[in-house]
């Protein structure tokens, strides 16, 4: 079955208008109740372990599957392509927000079709990330762009902000799609394919507020207690995460500083060209070379502008992503610690309590499995993440260096053509008009 599937269900909820509409013939259905993830109708979940239902049943097989140290993500073997583009503004009585078009092209058999197109808003991405983290607390989910940027008072609907966010959302989905475990997540599939009505109802399933509260309370308790016997390798990871976080933050700051200085340099340079041009108006013989120099300086200005833009659009977003990644690493390690703490508590409890030993032993076995799975998952994903980080940062720095070379090459050409014109002029013996 080929062809694209798009959402054309009509909303029965509150009215919302999409502005502008270039998706002709389709009505976008945005139910504002999406915003409020309220109490789930399903209250049968009593402990946290069933949260991981989807992974529990196949945990053993998953551990075996999760051997992708050898795995190479070839472009050839890539069977799913996701794009995020076309931001559009939506205005309702209560709020204004942006949706993005998410297009999926895939040959995977679990998808009903080979092409999908849906519209999603930032909250939908947040939801997806949350689901993936809940399902796999010790796997590393690529960060989403921040909810709101306070620095520099960027407006939510500023063009640059929207583009930066769109690009980051695009990367996020692609990272998910590349991930061996995440990409086969049901939630991910629904995110990519479901109409907004379908998505809304799916969102309402799953662990509701109460059970998530339960998890949080447990996590806090475990965190307070602390983990006792943490294996050295995870301590090493912790140290790495701390150090990496510091370094990448520094690099992010340095890069931002460079952009600032370049912008200020550009402001001053912009005045040089016109000054040479002004001077040329008072001169006769010198008018031509002065006008020429003015032109050269102006061209170099343009090149500097382009170079700064490249830094801003390419290097800075990547660095920023990895600053957020560093936080994710620390969070993942914390969650692992919490699981271990939980295990340790239950082990102690089993040793001391006399009653309910069978039930407690079952409980303990489950947690032990959970811990083993969590540790292995984390170790594998850590390696995977490091590879990805290396690729991404290497590529970003490489591109920047290349761009800088190109910048200098272009400026070089500008000045060499000036020299050439002066030489020709001299050989022509004086009054050649180059205007």
């Amino acid at each position: 079955m080929s062809g694209s599937v798009v959402d054309n269900t009509v909303s029965s909820g509150n009215s919302s208008v999409a502005i502008p509409t270039d998706i002709s013939g389709q009505i976008l259905d945005i139910d504002e109740d999406d915003d409020l993830e309220v109490f789930s109708k399903d209250t049968t979940l009593s402990d946290g372990s069933s949260l991981n239902a989807s992974m529990q049943t196949s945990s053993a097989s998953m551990i075996n599957q999760y051997k992708f140290e050898e795995e190479e993500e070839d472009a050839d073997t890539k069977d799913i392509f996701v794009t995020v583009d076309n931001p559009e503004s939506h205005v309702t009585a209560i709020e204004t927000y942006i949706t993005y078009r998410v297009e999926t092209k895939t040959t995977r058999s679990e998808f009903d079709s080979s092409e999908f197109e849906v519209r999603r808003r930032y909250q939908d991405f947040l939801w997806l990330k949350g689901r993936l983290e809940e399902a796999h607390p010790t796997l590393i989910v690529h960060p989403l762009p921040e909810k709101f940027v306070m620095k520099g008072m960027v407006e939510r609907f500023n063009e640059d902000f929207i583009e930066t966010r769109r690009s980051a959302l695009h990367k996020f989905l692609n990272k998910i799609a590349e991930h061996p475990i995440f990409s086969s997540s049901e939630d991910f599939k629904i995110f990519l394919t479901a109409g907004s009505g379908e998505l809304t109802s799916h969102k309402k399933q799953g662990p509701g507020f109460l059970s998530r509260m339960g998890e949080t309370v447990k996590a806090v308790a475990a965190a307070v207690r602390g983990v006792r016997g943490r294996p050295q390798e995870f301590t090493d990871m912790q140290e790495y995460a701390e150090a990496f976080s510091q370094k990448i933050s520094s690099i992010d700051k340095v890069t931002q500083r460079i952009v600032r200085e370049q912008k200020e340099y550009l402001e001053e340079l912009k005045e040089c060209g016109p000054t040479y041009a002004l001077w040329s108006q008072s001169e006769e013989e010198l008018a031509e070379p002065l006008k020429n120099v003015a032109g050269c300086v102006d061209k170099c200005c343009k090149e500097t502008e382009e170079q700064v833009k490249h830094l801003n659009d390419h290097l800075i977003p990547v660095l920023h992503e990895y600053v957020l990644c560093a936080d994710t690493l620390k969070a993942v390690l914390r969650r692992r610690d919490n699981i271990q703490a939980d295990f340790e508590v239950k082990t102690e409890a089993l040793a001391t309590k006399k009653a309910d030993r069978d039930a407690m032993r079952d409980e303990l076995d489950k947690v032990e499995d959970r811990l083993e799975w969590a540790n292995n998952a984390l170790k594998s994903d850590w390696t995977r993440w490091q590879k990805g980080m290396r690729t991404d940062l290497r590529s970003a720095f490489n591109d920047t260096a290349e761009r800088n070379v190109s910048y200098y090459e272009k400026c070089l050409a500008v000045w060499e053509s000036f020299l050439q014109s002066q030489r020709t002029d001299a050989e022509g013996n004086g009054n050649v008009d180059f205007s």
Binding site: Y265, L269, L278, S282, R394, A401, V405, E409, L412, L419
Partner: protein
């Protein structure tokens, strides 16, 4: 290098058989030294002296390399020399001295006169001044200039003995006074206007350039932080470590390279500054023309009024208002004898006046002729020098770009090994 340049420029000069000093003598300001001593008000002061070395041109070509003659001079003596030349040759565009105080500085450059970089650039500027004077068709044969280069002691006294100070004071007064000239030579009026424009635009350019240099310095230096952080980061990475570390070194090199780049640009700024000050010298010549023209016009005006008075006395009509006329109306006419005496006096005055006008006219014409020759010479020199300066600026930019290409290509290689 500049010497040879100047010498060759000397041979390109118009075919007037002037014995340019530079053709006979090698001149250089070889060194600068700090001295302390008591000044005019008997206070301790620190100042810099510059070593002027001279050597006959032939000596070098003969293969022998005799020790050059040398003497020490301080900046104030250079100023004295220049003031003397200004007064003695008012119709010439006298080469300027390097600036007294560092202006158009950007933050890294010190505005301190004792700063070694400033002293070094001043040394170069002073040498340039001497070479300019020595290659000028008229100035190079001046005796005071020659003794400046060759007689360490007693030179100051010799200068003062010429009595130029007196002329200087009166000229200074006249130049600062405001006066209106009725018929200035159009060319000089245009030149003065050009001088104003040149001064304004070069000042602006120097200001803008200094600010841009400041910013560029910032851009390069911040990259040095990459070096530090990459190095620290490489310590926690396994495969990425080497690539990061070596990339960091290139970032350090990039940051360091800006010092040389901006130092070279300072030479360019100095070349512009020379013509900023030359603009002033040009305007001074135009102003002096105005002065001579004014003095001529005053003399002519005076003569005309005297002639008119004579006419009135002779015909008895009073056309011009004069107190005498009024009083004679009120108190009666003069006696014929009085009128005779007056007429005679006027005749003498008129004769003298005509002589004066002739003199001043000749002065004016002479000034215009000589000054215009030098202005044309100056124009050619300026066009040539500034074009060369622009070319050297382009060469500097090219060099900077080449360095940038090299560093970032190296960095790219390191990154690709990450």
């Amino acid at each position: 290098m500049r010497e040879r340049e100047m010498q060759s420029r000397g041979t390109d000069m118009p075919t007037q058989e002037r014995k340019l000093l530079l053709k006979k003598m090698e001149i250089s300001v070889a060194e600068a030294e700090k001295r302390t001593g008591k000044n005019a008000v008997n206070m301790q002061e620190t100042y810099t002296v510059y070593l002027i070395e001279t050597r006959p041109v032939d000596a070098a070509s003969e293969g022998t390399n005799p020790v050059p003659d040398s003497l020490w001079r301080r900046y104030s003596e250079f100023e004295l020399l220049r003031n003397y030349l200004l007064v003695t040759y008012p119709f010439l565009v006298v080469p300027p001295l390097p600036e007294k105080r560092a202006e158009f500085v950007w933050h890294k450059l010190s505005a301190d006169n004792m700063d070694p970089d400033f002293v070094e650039r001043r040394r170069v500027g002073l040498e340039n001044f001497l070479l300019r004077v020595a290659s000028h068709p008229d100035l190079s044969s001046d005796k005071i200039f020659y003794s400046f280069l060759t007689e360490e002691n007693g030179w100051k006294e010799t200068v003062f003995e010429t009595g130029f100070q007196a002329k200087a004071d009166s000229r200074l007064k006249a130049l600062n006074a405001t006066f209106r000239v009725k018929n200035p030579d159009k060319r000089f009026a245009e030149m003065k206007h050009y001088g104003d424009e040149l001064q304004s635009v070069i000042s602006q350019l120097l200001r803008v350039r200094a600010r841009a240099a400041d910013r560029l310095y910032g851009v390069y230096k911040v990259h040095g932080n990459y070096g530090r952080v990459f190095s620290e980061w490489s310590a926690i990475e396994k495969e990425m470590g080497d690539g990061l570390q070596s990339a960091g070194h290139h970032m350090d090199a990039y940051a360091a390279s800006v010092d040389d780049i901006l130092e070279e640009e300072e030479h360019y700024a100095d070349q512009l500054k020379e013509y900023l000050f030359y603009a002033d010298a040009l305007r001074a010549v135009c102003r002096k023309h105005e002065l001579t023209q004014y003095e001529l016009e005053m003399a002519a005006q005076d003569l005309t009024s005297k002639k008119q008075q004579r006419e009135e006395l002779a015909t008895g009509t009073i056309r011009t208002f004069s107190l005498k006329g009024v009083t004679s109306k009120l108190f009666g006419q003069e006696t014929p004898e009085q009128r005779e005496a007056k007429l005679k006096m006027l005749e003498t005055q008129i004769e003298e006046g005509e002589e004066l006008v002739k003199e001043r006219n000749a002065e004016c014409e002479e000034f215009v002729k000589s000054a215009w020759v030098d202005i044309e010479r100056f124009k050619e020199q300026k066009d040539h020098d500034l074009r060369e300066a622009l070319i050297s600026y382009a060469i500097m930019q090219i060099s900077m770009c080449k360095k940038g290409i090299q560093v970032w290509n190296n960095a790219k290689e390191c990154f690709s090994k990450m």
